[in-house]
Symmetry: C2
Subunit: 407 residues, 2 copies
């Protein structure tokens, strides 16, 4: 019998308890012993829930309980999670977490602490919810030099963009709907401004290259400025708009970005819709591989957390090494990145001279019913060249274009 | 420095040597030490290849070499691979293999031998080439009861079916083309008759349920009877034809089959084309997850083999437990499986009475230029009911329909 504690009885925490109960038999078979939730930390009481008898209000009741081998941290946020996780590791307990904020902020330190003590610090659920991506990146794609990781890593924004695309609805309307359905938080900033996806690509990039990418250094743009007009242009061009979190290696440098991109139908993430997540990985010998599935939600996320618990129990006494050092990975300069851009500009197609002077050859596009402006797609140019050229035209907005092809 | 030996210097074997050399630095960093190929077993000599100095012709030169920790078996076929792998394990060496015939025939025995000796027997490359699927199934989806695994697991047949679909070419023509391109063997039976895919789904199903599914017990049909006419009907219906290897749990029983299926555009494997493989997994708490990528090929397969080598070296002295017992999993009877069928039948739409008498409601379909016959799609019925009903009509052929939806 292995005993565990759960920190936080919210959506994911209650999901963990539910999964361990629902699949008790199959999990015991895989682990070789039973797993029991002994304590659950929460500031609240749950008088009508059988969990109440396991509720504790003081973290020390868990830290000082020598029967507890594994601590599941699903509170979210950096503090007090960070303090609690450190205490758990110091007390000789392995830790599994779904908390991307914690992992993005302190991953290498917590991994090092676990390694020193022959414990494990696992975080499969922190990226891609139920989709196995941390373990594959860490254990399966080890023969490869990773060249590109591009993902739709946030279900909320993907739901909003899919709805806007399919129904032609405005951003504000769809956001409200997503909030009513519980897909978006009342304060949606972390999702819609790209911060959540940015933390996740920081984690994946750090694992891919074994050094630390600070999420604060990743250029990040959200979707709150995307309009129905943008989708009409996109449709005319055969594109969709997706919030991509991407990192890639070029000429020895790693570049990373989170931003809305237009992608065409040959793009591996084109069909990843609604709340689904998709992650494309290119390795220098593997070639292309794709993972997709439910990127969030109570049970899929809990499934990933519990798979980590299973691993921790099976590997008690052995650190399953993860290469993620404290050494910083210096990212390439965003200004040097090369891509095409879709641009909306005031005026009419008669005004192309100025556009061509600044952008060279462009492909223009107009949409019935959108007056006083037109769109164009540039050839490939650096972000810096684009920014310079854009100063000279009455630009309304621009969306980057990602040309990843699954071949 | 960890030293390894490679059994077989064919496509995959030379790929393994190449990957270890190309990515020497990144692999050493991940493992924490260098990996060196010390010996390569082959009956041939390679006088113009620097590998020659490592070539040995006698397996005992490897078995008796105490410096060699890990043996890579990439010869294919059950014998002598089985004998050599047993010898290696008995001599205290972990084994990594890409050999699905060996794993499907003797997986649990070799896993047990490895476990007893605190060694590892790994076979990531045996299913899905470079796509990580064995390790995710074995280590990531451990919180779930697996409900459904459905895959396009054979690149050769997927290439042939994609070509037939896109170009309207005949099976024999496309097969010849695939052989000329090296995508199909001169003797293509193992691929086109579904035997290869069948072994792979036997392995995945065994891992999902922890007991042994004998591939001989899985109902298997190949693609050699699929015609251009079938694709014309499929197109009219909005379907494509794919060779699926599938297993699923229903009312406590596991059913498995390898056969051509018609699938519609909402099916998760609809867009998996050419030589790509795709694997859909449904877990009771995880929901849907999909993996896809290059299912074969020298470097993708070698990438998966080398990831196993990395794992074996990192876990020297520790068995990374895989739950796959010798206990047989009794499969449900194919006759009881319920699905719809697409049927081609001699006659004209005037002859529907007999069809309706036997099949109830059907949806008919005709194709311009295909005379003297028509097609229809049945409602759901058991295989047994279908077989009975089909006896009473002038049936030309039938293709099963799979309705898996990624929701």
């Amino acid at each position: 019998m292995a005993k565990i504690a759960v920190l936080g009885y919210g959506t994911v925490g209650s999901g963990v308890v539910e999964v361990l109960s629902t699949n008790h038999d199959s999990i015991s078979k895989r682990v070789g012993q039973e797993i029991e939730v002994k304590s659950v930390l929460d500031i609240r009481d749950f008088p009508d829930d059988p969990i109440q008898e396991k509720i504790v209000h003081n973290i020390d009741d868990i830290i000082n309980d020598s029967e507890i081998d594994v601590v599941v941290e699903v509170m979210g946020g950096v503090e007090p999670a960070f303090t609690f996780v450190k205490k758990a590791l110091e007390a000789g307990k392995s830790v599994c977490t779904s908390n991307k904020a914690l992992v993005a902020a302190h991953g290498p330190q917590l991994l090092a602490m676990a390694k020193e003590r022959k414990l494990n610090f696992m975080f499969e659920a922190s990226v891609g919810g139920g989709i196995p991506i941390i373990r594959p990146l860490n254990q399966s794609l080890t023969a490869d030099e990773i060249i590109n990781i591009t993902g739709i890593l946030n279900g909320t924004t993907n739901y909003i963009l899919t709805k806007m695309s399919n129904e032609g609805s405005d951003y504000e309307v769809v956001l409200k709907e997503a909030q009513d359905l519980g897909y978006a938080e009342r304060n949606p900033e972390a999702d819609v401004e790209g911060f959540d996806a940015c933390r996740k690509i920081a984690i994946l990039t750090s694992l891919a290259y074994g050094s630390t990418v600070h999420f604060e250094e990743i250029y990040t743009e959200g979707i709150s400025n995307i309009t129905t007009q943008d989708f009409k242009y996109a449709q005319k061009l055969g594109y969709v708009v997706k919030l991509l979190a991407t990192s890639y290696k070029k000429d020895g440098k790693v570049y990373a970005m989170t931003a809305p991109f237009m992608i065409e139908s040959s793009h591996p993430l084109y069909n990843v819709n609604d709340v689904l997540n998709g992650i494309y990985v290119n390795g220098n010998v593997l070639g292309n591989v794709m993972f997709f599935g439910a990127g969030a939600g109570k049970l899929p996320t809990a499934s990933a957390v519990v798979s980590d618990v299973v691993d921790c129990v099976k590997h008690k006494g052995t650190n399953v090494m993860t290469v993620w050092s404290n050494k910083e990975l210096e990212l390439g300069n965003t200004e040097d990145e090369v891509r095409s851009f879709f641009v909306r500009v005031k005026g009419s197609l008669d005004d192309l001279t100025k556009i061509k002077e600044n952008f060279g050859n462009v492909k223009t596009v107009t949409v019935d019913g959108i007056e006083g402006e037109f769109g164009f797609v540039t050839e490939e140019m650096t972000e810096k060249e684009f920014a310079e050229a854009a100063k000279n035209i009455p630009m309304i907005s621009r969306i980057r274009i990602d040309k990843t092809v699954f071949s």
